[in-house]
Amino acid sequence: MNYFLSEEQQMIKEIAQKIADEKIKPVRAELDEKEEFPRDLLKVIAQSDLFGVCIPQEYGGFGGGSFENCLAVEELSRACLGVSTSFAASGLGAYPILLYGNEEQKKTYLPEIASGRKLAAFALTESTAGSDAGGIMTSAELKGNEYVLNGTKQWITNAGEADIYSVIAMTDRNKGARGASAFIVEKGDPGFNFGKKESKMGIRASATGELIFNQCRIPKDRIIAREGMGFIVAMKTFDQSRPGVGAQAVGLAQGALDEAVSFARTRIQFGKPIITFQAVQHMLADMATLTEAARALVYAAARFVDSGAKDFSKASAMAKVFASDAAMKVTTDAVQVLGGTGYMRDYPVEKMMRDAKILQIYEGTNQVQRNIIGQELNKEGGRKK
C-alpha cells in the first residue's frame, strides 16, 4: 500500500526501521527475559533524533506532528513493544508541556526531551483511580512559593528512569473534576521517591512503577496552565497520544504477520509448506487485512489530528481501539500459525502476543475508548437536529 509519505516522513521511517532491525531485534528476547530497561537502545534512538520528531523546531525538535510520531513508533514496535513503550511514554510526558506549558517551561524542558538527553513520563493513575481518573487522591497544596504534593501514583511507565514527570494532582477536592491541576516534577525534587517496580506479563523491557510524593516541594511555577486545568490537560494529552498507541499496535501486528508468513513458507507438513493449505492462507489473509485496515485508520486519524482539527477525541479513540483489538487478534493468530513453535520462547511471536494485551488497557481501556466514541456520537447526533 502507498500512503504517499513525504521525503522527510520516509526518512523517519527508514531510520526507525534500521534501529528496529539492526539494534532492537538482536536483543529483544533478552530484554524481555531479564525484564531489563533498554537504556542503550534509548541512547541509540536519541542519537538518531527520533525523540524530537513531534516537537517544534524552535525547541530543538524536528517539527513533525502526530503522523510523524506514528511512523517512528510503528517501526520500533515492529521489533519490540517494550522498547517502543519506553520511547512513546516520553512523548506522553512531553505533551502536557507542549500543549499547555508556558514559554519558559517549553524552553526549559522540551529541548532536553527532544534530544533524548532526558526521558519524560506521564502520571495520572492511582490505586483508587484507573478508568475513573476523577478518583485521584494525590494532592497539591500551594504554600508560599511552592506546591506541596502528597500521594502515590501507580503503574507509571518510565517511573524511576525518567527525569521529567507530568503529574496530575488535586488542588481543590471540593471542585471535583475541576479541582485537578497538572505539574512538572523533576527527579531529585525533595520528597519525591520511587516505589516498587512491577513485574509484568508483557512489555517487560519497559519500566512500570510507583511515584511516591511525601511532602514533595516544587516551585509554584511548575504548574502547567493554571489550577483546575488538570483533567483537560490529561484528556487533550490522550487525544493527541492515542493514535500513537494505534501505531504501536500496527507495528506489533506487522511484526507478527511477517513472522507468520515467513514461518508458513518454510514449515513443511504433509510434504508441503503449510502456507499452501487454504486454512493457513485464510488466517494469514485476515491478519494482513486487519493490519492494513488498522494502519489506514491510524494514519487517517493522525493526519486529522495534524490538520488542525479542534476536536479529534473520536478519531483518536477509534484508531486506538480498532488497532489494538487488531493487534491482539493478529498476534494470537500468529502463534496459531507457528503452532508449538509459536508457543516457545525461542521464537518472537509468544512475546508479541503477551505484549499485545497492554494496548487494550493503557491510555484508557478499550471499553473506555468505546465510551468516548459513543458519547461523541451522541453529541454529534444532538447537534444535527
Binding site: 522527510e8 526518512m11 541509540v44 524536528f62
Partner: protein
C-alpha cells in the same frame, strides 16, 4: 582533530552473483552500499570527533553515482565530503587508486588521522589504505581493533593478530585501517539525513587534483587483469548426494570404513 575517512561504494555482496563465463561480478541491478569495513572506519572517526571535537571529512574515488555513498556518510554524521571523479580514473588498480586518493587528501588539506576499512569486499586486496600512507609518507597501522589513546601528537592502538593483538604507538598524522571488532556503527540521524540532502559535495578530477595523467586510472595501473578464473581444486573431493537421511547414512559408512569412527 581533522579526521579523513576513505570510503568505497561497492555492490552489496549479499546480493551479488558471478557471471559464469567471465567469472566477474554481475553488478547490474545490484544495490550499492558503502563497503561494510568502511562503515567501521566512519564510526570510529565520528567517535573520535564526539570525544575530542573537530571534523570528519569523507572521501571516495568513483563514478559520479558514488556521490550517494558520500551523502549516506553525511547522514551518519560526517561533516564534509569530497568525490574524486574523472573518466580518466576508470580501471584503476590499487596502485593508481592510492595515488589518486593521496592527491585528493593533499587537496583536502591538513589532517590528523586517516581511517580506512581493512579491505573492500569487492576486491579484497587490503592494499589501498597502506598505499595511501606510503604516498603521503605517514606511518600506518593495519587491522586496528581498538584505539586506546590519542594525545600529544601520538596515537596508541591495538592491532588484531591471529594469535592475539599487538599494542602499537605512532606519531600523528597517521593512517589506520580498521577491522569490524573495533566498534558497532550507529544509525543515521534525522538531522544528518536532512543535511545530506542539501550539502554541497566537492568533485575533483585530474585537473583539480593536479594529478599526473599517466599515473591515474587504467594507464597508471601497474597490474592488469588478463583472465579471471576459478582456482583449480587442490584436493580430491567427493560429493555425497541424496536426501539428508541418505547422506548421513553414506557418510557414516565411509567414516567407519576409514576407521575414523568406530
Amino acid at each position: 582533530m581533522h579526521i579523513i575517512v576513505c570510503i568505497k561504494q561497492v555492490p552489496d555482496t549479499k546480493q551479488v552473483r558471478l557471471d559464469e563465463k567471465t567469472h566477474t561480478l554481475i553488478r547490474e541491478g545490484v544495490e550499492s552500499i558503502i563497503n561494510p569495513y568502511d562503515m567501521y572506519a566512519l564510526e570510529e572517526g565520528l567517535r573520535i570527533k564526539d570525544r575530542f571535537g573537530g571534523k570528519v571529512t569523507v572521501c571516495t574515488m568513483g563514478p559520479p553515482q558514488a556521490e550517494s555513498s558520500l551523502r549516506e556518510a553525511i547522514s551518519y554524521g560526517a561533516d564534509e565530503a569530497v568525490l574524486l571523479s574523472d573518466r580518466a580514473f576508470a580501471g584503476a588498480d590499487t596502485w593508481a587508486t592510492s595515488y589518486t586518493l593521496a592527491k585528493g587528501i593533499e587537496k583536502i588539506g591538513p589532517f590528523d588521522l586517516i581511517l580506512c576499512g581493512k579491505q573492500a569486499v569487492d576486491g579484497d586486496t587490503a592494499q589501498v589504505g597502506p598505499g595511501i600512507a606510503e604516498r603521503l609518507a605517514i606511518p600506518y597501522v593495519t587491522w586496528v581493533r581498538k584505539i586506546e589513546e590519542i594525545g600529544d601528537g601520538l596515537i596508541r592502538v591495538q592491532r588484531l593478530m591471529d594469535d592475539g593483538y599487538d599494542r602499537l604507538e605512532t606519531t600523528l598524522p597517521a593512517l589506520l585501517t580498521v577491522v569490524k571488532e573495533i566498534n558497532e556503527p550507529r544509525v543515521p540521524s534525522l538531522k544528518g539525513k536532512m543535511r545530506a540532502k542539501s550539502q554541497k559535495i566537492g568533485v575533483y578530477g585530474t585537473k583539480e587534483l593536479e594529478a599526473d595523467p599517466e599515473r591515474v586510472g587504467l594507464q597508471g595501473s601497474a597490474t592488469q587483469v588478463i583472465k579471471v578464473f576459478p582456482p583449480p581444486r587442490l584436493k580430491e573431493r567427493e560429493w555425497i548426494e541424496g536426501t539428508p537421511v541418505e547422506q548421513v547414512g553414506q557418510l557414516l559408512g565411509k567414516l567407519t570404513k576409514l576407521k575414523l569412527i568406530i
